[in-house]
């Protein structure tokens, strides 16, 4: 029944003989499939080959050190407040007399933990940090864990190695020395 006058009229013809026996169409389909059988495959063999990440990929977190090897993080808590998933917790502490070469300012993070199961890798902590301390690396991802207690990353797994500085995305094109004047 026609409700509007915009309805289209279609002709539906019955099948021709060649269509009704299906065989010519099957043969054509078999040809297409065979062509795909011999074509180049789109699979890459992970983990031997990997597809490259973009330079602004948000991967595993890292707490950076400045060019003298001192931790930049001052446990101000802005990253914890910014985190939408409440994954970051920290305990602040006062820098003692002999620890000047370890921490930049008088306040430092005694304990800094990120719960990797809560983290959504959004990068808001990186945007919020005033000391350019926390970054999300663009070449590493959080590795697979097998136990629940491996999931909370402490400072031992987050602070970068002084000899093997981490790639921090677009920031990696700026050297450590250039970075220091930008700190507030």
């Amino acid at each position: 029944m026609q409700l509007t006058n915009r309805a289209k009229k279609l002709e539906q013809k019955p099948l021709t003989f060649a269509e009704s026996i299906y065989l010519p169409a099957i043969a054509q389909g078999l040809g297409i499939t065979l062509k795909h059988f011999f074509s180049k495959k789109a699979t890459i063999q992970y983990p031997e080959e990997k597809r490259p990440f973009s330079p602004i990929f948000r991967g595993l977190h890292v707490l950076k050190l400045d060019e003298q090897g001192r931790e930049r993080c001052t446990a101000c808590g802005l990253c914890a407040v910014a985190c939408p998933a409440e994954a970051i917790t920290m305990i602040a502490g006062e820098r003692q007399k002999g620890e000047e070469n370890l921490y930049r300012e008088e306040k430092y993070a005694v304990k800094y933990e990120i719960n990797m199961l809560r983290c959504i890798f959004c990068g808001l902590c990186e945007e919020a940090c005033p000391k350019a301390a926390i970054f999300l690396q663009s070449d590493k991802m959080a590795p697979v864990f097998t136990e629940r207690d491996q999931v909370i990353y402490g400072k031992d797994r987050l602070v970068e190695d002084i000899n093997n500085r981490a790639n921090t995305g677009i920031q990696k094109f700026i050297s450590e020395a250039e970075m220091t004047p930008k700190l507030r």
């Binding site: 309805a7 002709e11 013809k13 019955p14 021709t16 003989f17 499939t33 795909h36 063999q45």
Partner: protein, 390 residues
């Protein structure tokens, strides 16, 4: 123990193990062929090129929990997959894998059992195969399994009719039910396919339906009936059902190769025989020649198995009513027409004593069928107008 008995036992054990081996690696080949057609590479982690994948699959099946549903008939539940496997394996016994090998002074044929009713035996086993599905569906105590089993059983019996009718045409040509005799008569390039292409197409379609392979895999697709008749099965019993499908594929390919493609015969066998007997001497040369024939047979079977997989990833599934229409209204009349055509062609050939008459009548009949079909579709031509809301 006599030498004949020992050789027979060796032949049977070898045929049995080759059947199982080919079925096992069919599962691997299925995944690889499916992957290559879909522009990806298949399993390649379990051993070099993924060749140990079937063992991993078997191990997985073995370690799963075996359970039997409550309120089900325990013996029938176990008997279902056992029946399916039994009939699948038994049908590989009558296929001639090669001509007779010569040991000492006697010839020993490379068949499991050398009966002269090979075709009838296979046909009987195919009919028994319906039991495996039906029993499995009933014993699951699950209405959906029962419906799936009913559909599978009805599909099976519809298509075995057309299969039998196309085999009747082959029988008329050779006058014997014995598969070894049929293969012996197809020497060189004198294969049945050039005499009966229509019968081959019918047999091919029915082989797909008997093995529950796409496009006729309604009984076992997950989207239609959850799992169909093997919903409630797990672990080794499910493994048996799936494995019996691959064995059925192997046996169907072997039967097609035997009936229509000349089995172990190939063109140029005279030349190969003379070279091999010259090189190796009479006795060993004969055996080498027979083994070459067997490897040609296996090449045909492996191509048949590849064809099953190739079609699976090309065609969509038939709906149940389309399936039944095709079986009863499409294939059986065509098979009967094929029998009539073959009969008249053979009679004319015998009367006129001229081989060309057979081809003239048979191919003329097929041509007339095609013309008749085209005319029929012209007569049925009517335009249907369908309104579509814009």
């Amino acid at each position: 123990m006599e030498l004949a008995l020992i050789i027979k036992i060796i032949v049977i054990v070898v045929i049995f193990s080759i059947t199982l081996l080919i079925a096992t690696y069919s599962t691997y080949a299925e995944r690889k062929v499916a992957a290559w057609i879909q522009d990806r590479s298949g399993p390649n982690r379990a051993g070099p090129f993924g060749l140990l994948q079937p063992i991993a699959d078997a191990g997985k099946m073995f370690f799963k929990e075996e359970f039997i549903p409550a309120h089900s008939n325990k013996w029938l539940f176990i008997a279902g997959p056992a029946l399916a496997m039994l009939t699948a394996l038994m049908s590989s016994a009558v296929i001639p894998f090669g001509k007779s090998i010569m040991v000492g002074e006697n010839y020993y044929p490379l068949v499991g059992i050398d009966v002269n009713i090979g075709v009838l035996y296979i046909f009987g086993l195919v009919s028994l195969g319906v039991y495996g599905i039906m029993v499995g569906g009933w014993a699951s105590n699950n209405k959906f399994s029962l419906l799936g089993a009913l559909r599978a059983a009805s599909q099976n019996i519809s298509y075995e009719l057309a299969m039998g009718l196309s085999m009747v045409a082959v029988l008329m040509m050779y006058g014997t039910l014995s598969l070894t005799e049929i293969t012996l008569k197809q020497t060189g390039f004198n294969w049945t396919i050039i005499y009966q292409p229509l019968g081959f197409i019918i047999f091919l379609v029915c082989a797909f339906a008997e093995c529950n392979r796409t496009p006729f895999d309604l009984p076992e697709c997950e989207t239609e009936l959850v799992g169909g008749y093997h919903t409630e099965y797990s672990s080794m019993k499910l493994g048996f059902y799936l494995f019996s499908e691959y064995i059925n594929m192997f046996v169907s390919s072997a039967l097609m190769a035997t009936l229509y493609f000349g089995g172990y015969n190939y063109p140029g066998w005279h030349y190969v025989y003379s070279i091999v007997t010259e090189h190796f001497g009479h006795a060993t040369g004969h055996n080498v020649y027979v083994l070459i024939g067997t490897s040609v047979f296996f090449a045909k079977i492996l191509f048949g198995i590849f064809f099953f997989m190739w079609v699976r990833w090309t065609l969509p599934r038939f709906r149940y009513d389309q399936l039944m229409d095709l079986g009863w209204k499409g294939l059986i009349p065509t098979a009967i027409f094929n029998i009539v055509l073959t009969g008249s062609a053979i009679l004319a050939q015998d009367y006129f004593q001229f081989k060309g008459i057979y081809f003239a009548i048979y191919y003329g009949g097929v041509f007339l069928l095609i013309i008749g079909g085209i005319l029929w579709s012209f007569l049925n031509y009517k335009k249907k107008i369908v309104l579509v809301k814009a």
